[in-house]
C-alpha cells in the first residue's frame, strides 16, 4: 500500500503539464457535449450576431440614405459603412468569450452543483478557466466564421486576403489580453453574487470606447484615452487595417508593442484577481453559495 501513497509520476513537471493540457481539453469537450444537448439554444447562438449587427447597418442606412459615407472616408480611408462596421463587430465577438463564456464558467458549475467536485480535483483552478477559454474561443471562432461568410457574400464585401495572416496574429494577441479580462470576471463571480452586472457593465464600457463602428477620432478625449488601454482597440484597428486597408492612426509596431504590453498586464492582473478571489472564497466559505 505504501508505494501508492508516494507522489506519483504525475508530479514530474512534464507529466504535470501533460495532465493539465488533458484537463483543459476535457473541459472543452465536456462543454461542447453539454451545449449540444441544448439544441435550440445552440442554434440560436448562430443567429444572434446577425440580430445585433443588422440594427447598426440599418441605422447607418437611415443616416446616410445609402451605404457609403464621404465623412467616414475622410476619417478612415474607407467609405463602405457596411464593411467598416462588420469587421469591427465580427471581432468584438471575442469579448463575449471573455465576459460571458469564461466569466460565467464557474457560476455555471455552481448551478450544476459540480463546482466543489471539480475543485477537489488535483489540478489548479485556473485550468478550468483555461479549458473554458479554449472552448469558448473554438465556439466563438465557429460562429464568427459563419457570420463572416454570410455577410461578405450577402453584401459583396471584398477583403484583402493578403492581410489574413497578419490579422490573425493581431487577433491572437487581442484574444490573450481578453483572456485576462475573462479570468478577472471568473474570479469576481466567485465572490460577487451579482457578478453578471459587473461583467455586463464592463462589456458595455468596452463596446462604447472600442472603435467598432466608428474611428477613434470621433471619441471625446477622455474616452479615447481609456480605449488606449484596451486590447480590443488595437485588435480591431489592426484587423481592419489588414483586411480593409484602414489608415492607421498609430504605427503598426506601436500597435503590436502596446498589444503585447496590455496582454501581459491584463493576464497578470487577471491571475492575481483570480487567486485573491479564490482564496477569499475558500476563507469565507462562499464557494457553493449562490
Amino acid at each position: 500500500m505504501r508505494e501508492e501513497r508516494q507522489p506519483s509520476r504525475l508530479w514530474r513537471v512534464k507529466d504535470r503539464v501533460f495532465h493539465y493540457l488533458r484537463a483543459i481539453n476535457a473541459e472543452n469537450i465536456k462543454e461542447w457535449r453539454i451545449e449540444l444537448k441544448y439544441k435550440p439554444d445552440f442554434i440560436r447562438q448562430f443567429f444572434e450576431p446577425f440580430v445585433y449587427l443588422f440594427p447598426y447597418f440599418l441605422y447607418g442606412f437611415a443616416l446616410l440614405g445609402g451605404r457609403y459615407s464621404e465623412h467616414l472616408r475622410s476619417l478612415t480611408g474607407i467609405s463602405d459603412m457596411i464593411a467598416y462596421t462588420f469587421i469591427g463587430y465580427l471581432f468584438i465577438g471575442f469579448l463575449n468569450t471573455a465576459c460571458w463564456a469564461m466569466g460565467f464558467s464557474l457560476r455555471k458549475e455552481q448551478w450544476f452543483g459540480t463546482l466543489e467536485t471539480i475543485f477537489v480535483a488535483p489540478v489548479p483552478r485556473w485550468v478550468y478557466v483555461a479549458g473554458m477559454a479554449l472552448h469558448s474561443t473554438c465556439h466563438q471562432g465557429l460562429i464568427m466564421l459563419i457570420q463572416a461568410v454570410v455577410i461578405t457574400t450577402f453584401f459583396a464585401i471584398v477583403l484583402q486576403t493578403s492581410g489574413l495572416f497578419l490579422s490573425l496574429v493581431v487577433v491572437l494577441l487581442m484574444l490573450l489580453g481578453l483572456y485576462g479580462l475573462g479570468i478577472i470576471v471568473a474570479g469576481l463571480t466567485i465572490a460577487l453574487k451579482q457578478w453578471w452586472v459587473v461583467s455586463e457593465a464592463l462589456a458595455t464600457l468596452i463596446v462604447v470606447v472600442t472603435p467598432i463602428a466608428y474611428p477613434l477620432a470621433v471619441l471625446p478625449f477622455v474616452l479615447r484615452k481609456v480605449s488606449m488601454f484596451l486590447p480590443t482597440t488595437y485588435g480591431i484597428i489592426g484587423v481592419r487595417h489588414f483586411l480593409l486597408g484602414e489608415e492607421l492612426v498609430v504605427g503598426l509596431p506601436t500597435i503590436i508593442l502596446r498589444l503585447s504590453i496590455i496582454l501581459v498586464v491584463w493576464l497578470t492582473f487577471g491571475m492575481l484577481v483570480f487567486l485573491i478571489m479564490d482564496r477569499f472564497g475558500r476563507k469565507r466559505g462562499s464557494l457553493s453559495i449562490y
Binding site: 441544448y38 435550440p40 439554444d41 442554434i43 440560436r44 443567429f47 444572434e48 440580430v51 443588422f54 440594427p55 447598426y56 440599418l58 441605422y59 447607418g60 442606412f61 437611415a62 443616416l63 446616410l64 440614405g65 445609402g66 459615407s69 465623412h71 467616414l72 475622410s74 476619417l75 459603412m81 462596421t85 453574487k193 451579482q194 452586472v197 455586463e200 457593465a201 458595455t204 464600457l205 463596446v207 462604447v208 467598432i212 463602428a213 466608428y214 474611428p215 477620432a217 470621433v218 471619441l219
Partner: protein, 267 residues
Amino acid sequence: MWVIVEEVRKSFAILFAYPVEVVFWIFSPLLWVIPLVFQGKALIGAFSSTPFGALAGTDEFIPYVLIGAIISTYMFSAVWSMGNSFRDETYYGTLEHILSAPVRPVYILVGKGVYNSVLSTLFVIVQLLICVFIFGLEITLAKIFPIFLFLLLLIVGLYGIGFMAAAVTLLIKESHGIIHLFEYVLFLFSPIRYPVEVNPITKTISVFIPLTYALIALRGLLLNIDFNFWKNSVILLGIDCAIIPLGLFIFYKIEKRTKTRGTLADY
C-alpha cells in the same frame, strides 16, 4: 385583487435585495445609445441628417434614438422579465406552491405584469430626467395626457406578449433562447434605433408590432414630430384587444398541458 398587490410587493422586496441590478437597468439603455451617437458622428460628421429626416420626420437622430432606447425599456421588461418570472420561481423552488395556491394564475401573471410596468415606468422617468438635465434633450411634456395614453396602450400590448413568453417558459424549461428570439424580432423590426421605412422587410413586419405605433406616437409627442394621432391610437387599441386574450389563452393552454404532463417543477 390582494393577490396582485402582494405579488407586486413580493417582487419589489426581491428586487431591492439586488440594488446593483436596479442601477444597471436604469443606465444600460442609455449606455447602448452612446455607440449610435458616435457612429452617427463618424458617418455624417454632424448630428443631423437629411436622409434620416426624410424617413423619420426629424433630422436630429440623437433625440430619436434616445427616445427609442428609453421606451424600449418596456419591451425588455415585458418580454424578458415576464418570460423569466416563472423560471425564477422554478429556481427558488416556489413555482409549484404558487400555481397550487387557490387563486387563478392570471392574477399572479397580472401581478408580475403590474410590478414590471411600475418598475419600468420608474426607470423610464429616471432615464428621461438624465437625458433632459444631463444630455440636454429637448422634449415637450405639454401633451402629458396623450403620452400616458400611449404608454398605457403600449404596456398592455407588450404584456400580452409577456404572457406568451411566460407560457413558453412553462413549456420549455431552457427558454432563454426562445425569449431572446422574441426580443430580437421586436428589436429588429420596430423603430427603436432607426425608422423602419429604411428597409421594406422591416417596414412590413413592423406593422404587427405594438411597439411600432407607440414609438411613432411617443416620439411625435415628445419631439414634436407630425404623426396621425387617431390612426396610431386606434391600431394600438386594436392590437391590445387581440393580444391580451391571445396571451392569456396561450398561457392557460400551456399551464394545463404542463399540469397534465407533470413537468411543472422540472429544470
